[in-house]
């Protein structure tokens, strides 16, 4: 589900510091048994599971785009993972790694999990492009569920365009 909120579609010039538009998206998607790799900095050349892939058309090419999500749950299949990571892409261009989560042991099984939340800003562009929020782990992993725990929640994305 994607929602676009705009005050007006007539933006001849961006307004300094004002929110020009907001796009939100939410889903309950789960990824299971995904083969993961990568390093602790999250730079994995596009790999990972796209929890969000949302088209976004800035109203001005001079704006700043802010992307935020709730913390997204990533869980390992076997007790070999050391970290979770997230990457933000605009089309195929890597815009940076999200804050990576530390792992925590689950006392009953020793399996690790982490949470990745996106909180990124970047320069605007012209035309429609797709923003991808990808997450993963350096082992076989699950997103928004685990091997034996299937009660997923809703993940939410907010994209804001701020006038220059």
């Amino acid at each position: 589900m994607t929602t676009v909120i705009r005050g007006s579609d007539n933006f001849d010039t961006a307004i300094n510091g004002k929110v020009l538009q907001v796009v939100t998206s939410s889903n309950t998607n789960q990824f299971a048994n995904i083969s993961g790799s990568g390093n602790s900095s999250g730079g994995t050349s596009g790999a990972g599971s796209a929890v969000f892939s949302v088209s976004f058309t800035p109203v001005a090419s001079t704006s700043t785009i802010i992307v935020t999500t709730n913390p997204i749950w990533v869980y390992e299949h076997d007790d070999v993972g050391e970290y979770v990571w997230g990457n933000l892409y605009v089309d195929s261009v890597h815009k940076g790694a999200a804050n990576r989560g530390v792992y925590n042991s689950v006392a009953s099984s020793g399996l690790n999990f982490g949470f990745i939340g996106f909180n990124n800003s970047m320069d605007s562009w012209s035309g429609a492009k797709t923003i991808h929020c990808k997450v993963g782990m350096n082992t076989t992993y699950y997103v928004n569920c685990s091997y034996s725990y299937n009660y997923n929640g809703t993940n939410n994305l907010v994209i804001m365009e701020i006038g220059a």
């Binding site: 990824f31 569920c145 725990y149 299937n150």
Partner: protein, 97 residues
């Protein structure tokens, strides 16, 4: 514990990635075929039965863990009593196979 379809699919196809897109199964494996709904449901039933069959063992272990068994065995040895054996037997009787 209720066995999930995710667990059943991984049991059937341990090397196959997949996802649930807002509740609908989407197969991400380009080599191995997707199991049918019937196969998944059958596996859920099988795994659930296997899990349920071990209920007695989980119940016994929870009770065993409440006992200070080393001390009970030591005291029995010193006092020529059978408190440890009696306690274990009572738990086994409470949760039969």
């Amino acid at each position: 514990m209720e066995i999930s379809k995710t667990e059943a699919i991984v049991s059937l196809m341990p090397n196959s990635p997949f996802m649930w897109r807002n509740g609908t199964l989407e197969w991400l494996d380009t080599v191995q075929p997707q199991p049918t709904d019937s196969e998944i449901d059958t596996e859920v039933t099988r795994l659930q039965a296997a899990y349920d069959a071990q209920a007695y063992a989980r119940s016994r272990k929870a009770k065993y863990d409440l006992l200070n068994q080393d001390e009970m065995r030591y005291d029995d040895l010193i006092n020529s009593t059978t408190t440890w054996q009696d306690a274990i037997a009572a738990i086994k009787q409470e949760y039969p196979k």
